[in-house]
């Protein structure tokens, strides 16, 4: 038996172990679950070492002498202070760097990528030569405004304002409905993939 065929059988065994959960929780599912956690943890760390820490830290710091990298080296070491409660506060220094950078990234990303460009994209002409375009632009503009008003909680949602915000909820419901439809599509595709593996690659019934 070649390693490839053995691999398919191993993969099929674990696939069935996980699927067995559909009947009820059982030993085979638990076994697969624990093996999965172990393998993925080991995989993750090995990859971080080989793909990130070696090329971006160890080699440049210890072989090429890029001494400035001593800073992330020390910050990384500080992370492990979390294992000792007395000095665990030291890990905050490393966390602070990450939190600061990711906060900065969020501000820039959401402001330039989402906020400005999305508002800009919705500034649509409400008078065009095509009836359909005018209609669509109107719905988009009206829908966006009503939804945004719905998110405005500083004023109580009643009376005329309440009516408009209710229309906003309707647009949001359409949006959630579409998302649900796409989620169903997504989940079914994933099952198709596994069924295709079982009946195709493993049993060889489907070509």
């Amino acid at each position: 038996m070649s390693y490839e065929i053995l691999g398919v059988w191993v993969a099929a065994f674990f696939t069935l172990c996980i699927f067995s959960f559909l009947y009820r929780d059982n030993f085979f599912y638990k076994l697969a679950e624990h093996i999965f956690v172990g393998i993925s943890a080991g995989y993750g760390v090995a990859l971080q070492i080989e793909n990130v820490l070696k090329p971006n830290l160890f080699k440049p710091l210890f072989q090429e002498g890029k001494m400035l990298l001593i800073i992330p080296f020390i910050l990384s070491a500080l992370l492990f202070s979390r294992l000792y409660s007395k000095i665990s506060w030291l890990s905050r220094w490393a966390l602070a760097l990450l939190i600061g950078i990711f906060s900065g990234a969020a501000i820039i990303g959401f402001a330039s990528g989402d906020l400005i460009l999305q508002i800009n994209a919705n500034l649509l002409p409400l008078k065009t030569n095509s009836f359909l375009t005018t209609f669509n632009n109107f719905i988009l503009t009206f829908g966006l405004i009503t939804c945004l008003l719905y998110f405005f909680f500083s004023k109580e949602h009643k009376g005329g304002f309440g009516f408009v915000t209710k229309l906003g909820i309707y647009f949001l419901m359409i949006s959630f409905g579409a998302s649900f439809g796409y989620t169903v599509m997504s989940r079914m595709s994933l099952l198709i993939g596994r069924v295709y593996f079982i009946f195709g690659q493993w049993l060889g019934i489907i070509q």
């Binding site: 990130v52 990711f102 990234a105 460009l117 796409y182 599509m185 595709s189 198709i192 069924v195 295709y196």
Partner: protein, 276 residues
Amino acid sequence: MQKFFEFINQLDRRIIFIFVALAIILPLLFPLNIKFTVTEPVRGFYEAIDKVPNGSKVLFACDFEPGSLPELYPMTYAALEQMLKKDLKIIALSLWPAGPPLVEKALTDMAQNEFKRKYGVDYVNLGFKEGREVVMVSMGSSIPNTFPQDYRGTKVSQIPIMQGVNNFKDVKLIVNISAGYPGTKEWVQQVQARYNIGLVSGCTAVSAPEYYPYYQSKQLLGLLGGMKGAAEYEILVNRIGLGRRGMDAQSMAHVIIFLFILLGNLAYFSLKKKGT
């Protein structure tokens, strides 16, 4: 009828599971070959790659894991086919830890085995880098500094395809295959908006509705949503992959879900009317 609706109302979930399984298995065993056409966002994806001059360098960001393979692998293979047919030089990478081996396999299957292209000259797999959007911003300053070596451990300075590639200005297009975070949203926010570079996205169906605003605002030049998007794209690149093969099963599964929603509601309203 009353008894039937009571039965439906208390249906064991495992019976639903059996119907869902059958709706998927039967069409795969006995294909119906239902025809379908190509939608606009998918055409946009195809045309954006088509417009890139032959022989140019493109960034192929494959941000996914095995969990979304059935949706994203068909579009990965189809995108590789289109890019390789145009002789585009592919610089692949992944910001998801379990991505690189999957990218490597796709590149081996398509670039090496099917198109007989040379690793390092026509394509490269830069592997994985932790840091999500920070990696993207870092690549904007310097790709070689962010990825000092490829997935196989070769220094990027020794890889021919990477010569002259310093940042996003040196690639013509970013083709992103995205399973979530980090993915298309972050490429749009941190790279497309900042460096004004063309970006197309192939994503899971779950994320597709969220990306429609980006497609409408032209921040995305094209969008493939889930396996259906992949199937439409396979038509354009003239390829038969899991996307097209899975469409009958996808159709039947959706019909089953629809019928269950309908039955559930009929049972609910019928029993409510009778005060049960």
